[in-house]
């Protein structure tokens, strides 16, 4: 897949981090297996360009890191709520919203990847909303 906003390496890092956040679990596909990342451009086209550029750089760098570093970052992000104001604490909290937000948005959504054949996570959680 190609993205107008993220490098191939950045997309791979999204998939690796996505699999840490959302692994294969029973009927639930892993994040990379579901393939919702194919639609990431539909979401980030509305975000501030500078933020996306910074995120692309970060994810590209992360793509070179071993998985334990990604796990460490996920852990730091998720436990940043009580870290101090400013500096690293603020950065981790922003990443937690930004990266987790994008990953969850590409997973609990109607749009699966082009090769995915299984049940979608949004259906597995029973989100059966009717719009008349």
């Amino acid at each position: 897949m190609k993205s107008a906003y993220f490098s191939n390496r950045a997309l791979k890092a999204f998939n690796r981090m996505g699999d840490v956040l959302l692994p294969k679990n029973g009927q639930f596909p892993s994040f990379s297996e579901f393939g919702g990342i194919e639609h990431i451009d539909d979401l980030v086209q509305y975000a501030p360009k500078g933020d996306i550029k910074d995120l692309n750089l970060l994810m590209t760098i992360l793509s070179f890191m071993p998985t334990f570093v990604i796990r460490w970052l996920v852990n730091k992000m998720q436990n940043a709520g009580n870290m101090g104001n400013g500096g690293v604490g603020t950065l981790f909290r922003m990443l937690n919203f930004g990266i987790r937000g994008l990953i969850f948005s590409c997973y609990y959504t109607e749009n699966a990847g082009s090769t995915y054949q299984g049940e979608r996570p949004i259906d597995l959680v029973g989100y059966d909303v009717k719009r008349v």
Partner: protein, 458 residues
């Protein structure tokens, strides 16, 4: 030269544009967001969050501990909120009057303006049989515990409940035009009946006051555009209006610019029930707390839920535990505490032009939050919840202050006649003029205040 230029099309700007157009005035509304309709609103939660909000979904305070949701679309916040329309009570008006010195901040004098809003907006108060599973648990448990509650009054006219429509979808824009957003009411009626003009995708970057008119510099669809207006009405909301005045050099003139910001911070909790609750089905929100004791303690409870992506975010954890929790999505009931926070926040713009919101929780805010969460815990436990998930995140959805109204020029930005202090032809009509947090949903009062300004303009 335009006679009246309005910046912002939400609950502040739309009522003004409507009546100016109705009275034949030369008037144009500029809106930074897209002009979508019931047929073109995004159809998925992911797309709605990205497309309808500033920042591509979310903005933060300076420490990234609090997140803000701010709509960027024709109709503003009224497109994405629940359109819960409550009038202020005596407590709210008295506190506003005490902080601002504005005489007409009282129930008696503001009543006619609420009534004027109701001429265009259909209000509906929910009935017992319209509660969904989430609301039934909330109301029945409140009854058991002796907590006061009420059926909500909402702007809506035909939600299609009988046909099985689920209203949670309208958080991304109502696809039936039932929800009484300013788009579905003032704007569409204004365009159809009176030729109201609105220009979307136009972000105003700066204004320059030139005495008898104001020059407005905007970026519109990638191009720079300049407008000249005899009268300028700022209605871009607490962030938008404050940011624009900051970037236009008004901070030197108004020491209070950016100050007294509040946001009714909201904290959500989920309770896992034995049987399916189906909180996402039917009417989304039909009841809330209505309890003098809670009001005195500075908080209220709302009976809400969230679609899957938002719920996944709110849970705050990940991995298999997260997926297992999400699998029980239909089994959660959910509520939130919204606090009446102290207005010590400040909206600023850095030298590089970046909006920064300094909004810590005060000790009093934390006490109010803790009292509210304790009540929620009691309700969830009494309702039989097997497990309680309190979200580690909190949000400000009601953005208020920054250009507060008052009689004292040193402590306020806007005079009681809605004009910037010392300016005859620049007005402010949005939540930025709120002197403090009312502890009540702000939309109805924003519109009522705009109706008061209408009386002056027309």
């Amino acid at each position: 030269m335009i006679e009246y230029l309005i910046i912002g099309s939400g609950p502040g700007g739309a009522p003004i544009g409507y009546y100016l157009a109705k009275n034949g005035a030369d008037c144009l509304i500029l809106e930074a967001g897209e002009h979508l309709t019931k047929d073109t609103f995004p159809k998925t939660e992911a797309k709605s969050s990205a497309q309808l909000y500033w920042g591509g979904g979310i903005e933060f305070n300076k420490t990234a501990k609090m997140a803000f949701l701010r709509a960027k679309v024709v109709g503003g916040t009224s497109i994405v909120n629940q359109c819960l329309l409550d009038r202020f009570d005596d407590i709210a008006w008295n506190d506003w009057k005490a902080d601002s010195g504005v005489d007409y901040f009282n129930k008696e004098e503001m009543t006619p303006y609420y009534e004027k809003v109701e001429e265009l907006i259909d209000l509906y108060t929910f009935k017992p049989e319209e509660r969904n599973g989430n609301a039934k648990i909330f109301t029945e448990t409140c009854d058991k515990l002796g907590y006061g509650w009420k059926y909500l009054t909402r702007g809506q006219n035909d939600c299609g409940r009988e046909q099985g429509n689920d209203c949670i979808g309208c958080l991304g824009g109502c696809q039936r035009d039932s929800k009484q957003s300013t788009l579905a009411t003032y704007i569409q009626k204004g365009i159809k009946d009176y030729g109201l003009k609105i220009q979307a995708n136009t972000y105003v970057e700066k204004i320059e006051h030139k005495g008898d008119h104001t020059v407005v510099y905007a970026a519109s669809n990638g191009k720079q555009e300049i407008f000249k207006a005899k009268n300028l009405i700022l209605a871009g909301g607490a962030f938008g209006t404050t940011e624009l005045l900051y970037k236009s050099g008004f901070k030197d003139k108004f020491p209070a610019l950016g100050k007294y910001f509040s946001s009714h911070p909201q904290f959500m909790s989920f309770g896992l029930q034995e049987e399916p609750v189906l909180a996402h089905k039917g009417y989304f929100q039909t009841a809330a707390s209505h309890d003098d004791n809670f009001r005195a303690q500075g908080f209220k409870l709302e009976n809400v839920y969230a679609p899957p992506i938002s719920t996944a975010m709110l849970f705050g954890f990940s991995g298999k535990d997260h997926q297992n929790a999400m699998k029980k999505y239909p089994y959660y009931n959910c509520m939130e505490v919204a606090i009446r926070d102290e207005n010590i926040g400040e909206i600023k713009v850095t030298k590089k032009g970046k909006l920064v919101v300094d909004k810590p929780l005060t000790k009093q805010d934390e006490e109010r939050r803790d009292k509210g969460l304790k009540v929620i815990d009691n309700i969830l436990t009494t309702s039989g919840a097997k497990e309680i998930i309190a979200s580690p995140f909190y949000f400000g959805l009601h953005l208020m202050g920054g250009c507060v109204m008052g009689v004292d020029e040193k402590k306020s930005v806007v005079a009681p006649d809605f004009k910037l202090h010392g300016y005859d032809n620049i007005y402010v009509a949005d939540s930025s003029i709120f002197p403090n947090a009312p502890g009540i949903n702000p939309s109805f009062t924003i519109m009522a205040l705009s109706e008061k300004l209408n009386e002056q303009l027309n």
